[in-house]
């Protein structure tokens, strides 16, 4: 190997990534070549400098705690969906499940019966988690616009449904934009409204269910159905005003234009 060839491989040699034959050739070259030796030495100095512990940024204890909470909150949602767990297990071991097909159908059937009527606790936790995350810097909006004719088309192609979008600025709940979000494995639309200084996340996905209110960690949640969609309004706004917002959104649907 000549000097140029050696230099091509010098860093792989330093990192012990060469096969033995190539490494030996380089080791034969180095004693005769001060220039290559110098380059190896310089690279080692840089490596040591970058690898020193003072340079490293470990995760803070606060981040660790925050992530533990977030993981458990998200996992709570997954646990509230045993349907998904059974499905996964079935995919992995189809034979073990073949004899249970009938009872599986029964179970899945009953799950469908159960879930539309009451929101699983895990889902509420996840809605709260998603709301809280959205308030962190740069997480709130994917599309920033007070114009429903901008926000609504933005969702097209990103979702397999078209969420109802309303401008409630005149009622004191201006639309400020939209965001794509995930609840469990499901893509959902999130509309963001403002009431004074409070942010309202309105999560929307296809489905049906009765109206319902929940509170958790100082955040109010209201579920209602609108145009064949499940809507969850989530905010730290007081329960009364949030209910007014939910009623307005639901009611305007009934009388206003169809999009």
């Amino acid at each position: 190997m000549n000097c140029d060839e050696v230099r091509q491989l010098l860093h792989a040699y330093i990192d012990d990534e060469l096969d033995i034959a190539a490494a030996l050739q380089i080791e034969r070259h180095l004693p005769d070549c001060p220039k290559c030796r110098k380059e190896v030495e310089a690279a080692q100095v840089v490596r040591t400098a970058v690898a020193q512990p003072a340079i490293y940024y470990p995760a803070s204890a606060a981040l660790r705690d925050r992530l533990k909470l977030a993981i458990r909150s998200e996992a709570g949602e997954m646990e509230a969906e045993p349907k998904a767990g059974l499905f996964t297990a079935w995919r992995k071991r189809p034979m073990a499940f073949s004899g249970l097909a009938a009872s599986l159908l029964l179970i899945i059937g009953s799950l469908f019966l159960i879930f539309p009527s009451g929101a699983p606790r895990g889902q509420v936790d996840e809605l709260i988690g998603s709301h809280v995350r959205s308030l962190e810097a740069d997480h709130l909006l994917d599309v920033a616009s007070t114009d429903l004719h901008t926000v609504k088309p933005w969702f097209a192609g990103k979702l397999d449904f078209s969420p109802p979008v309303l401008d409630l600025a005149a009622e004191g709940y201006p639309l400020i934009g939209g965001r794509l979000d995930y609840l469990g494995q499901q893509k959902v639309a999130a509309l963001i409204y403002r009431r004074n200084k409070h942010v309202i996340n309105l999560f929307i996905w296809p489905g049906e269910g009765s109206s319902q209110t929940q509170t958790g960690r100082g955040i109010n949640l209201i579920r209602f159905e609108c145009k064949g969609m499940i809507c969850w309004a989530v905010s730290d706004l007081n329960a009364g005003e949030l209910q007014q917002f939910a009623d307005l959104f639901k009611a305007q649907k009934a009388v206003s234009t169809r999009y």
Partner: protein, 188 residues
């Protein structure tokens, strides 16, 4: 395995590699708040797709998600220099065009100052910075780095060579008027 057991397994794996995840995100994002946001977002993404993780190297799998989340965030914030960096990398990507090799002792003097080393790493193009961080701070193999950064092993090798060479140049040529860290600070 029950969902609960899966979650515990995921949680302990994430916590085990959280320092690596944060360190990578911090070097890519270059500020604390963005790094923390990216790590949390990556963590949620990883949890949602943990199903698709078929065993093997969790660290590389998780760091890939952290890396991709970082770049998505950088592009979203339009502060990314990756496009320009990539372009210059395409040209003569194999080996830097005979760069000057500085005297190792001159580099060592500069490298003793933690702040200068930090500034030099920060000044690297993202594509070089990520391979330097993954190799020198996390000790990943070329193969693992290739997987995380989504490039062939040969590219890892040439980027690492360029990254180290540029770091030498940056350290030696760095403006000396910058405040020095005190000995106490650098010892931390």
């Amino acid at each position: 395995m029950s969902l609960h057991a899966t979650t515990s397994k995921f949680e302990s794996a994430v916590l085990e590699h959280l320092d690596a995840a944060h360190n990578l995100a911090r070097w890519l994002m270059r500020n604390d708040q963005d790094a923390q946001d990216v790590v949390q977002e990556a963590c949620m993404r990883a949890l949602r797709s943990f199903d698709s993780f078929r065993g093997g190297d969790f660290r590389a799998w998780f760091l890939t998600i952290v890396r991709n989340t970082s770049f998505t965030s950088l592009r979203r914030n339009k502060t990314s220099t990756i496009a320009a960096g990539e372009q210059s990398l395409e040209v003569g990507a194999e080996v830097a065009a005979d760069p000057e090799v500085y005297d190792p002792e001159a580099i060592a003097i500069r490298a003793a100052n933690v702040n200068w080393v930090r500034r030099a790493i920060d000044a690297l193009p993202e594509a070089l910075r990520e391979v330097v961080v993954l190799r020198e701070m996390e000790g990943l193999s070329y193969k693992e780095i290739g997987r995380v950064a989504g490039v062939p092993i040969g590219t890892v090798m040439s980027r690492l060579a360029r990254g180290r060479t540029q770091l030498q140049t940056l350290l030696v040529e760095m403006d000396q008027s910058e405040p020095r860290t005190t000995a106490r600070e650098s010892a931390r």
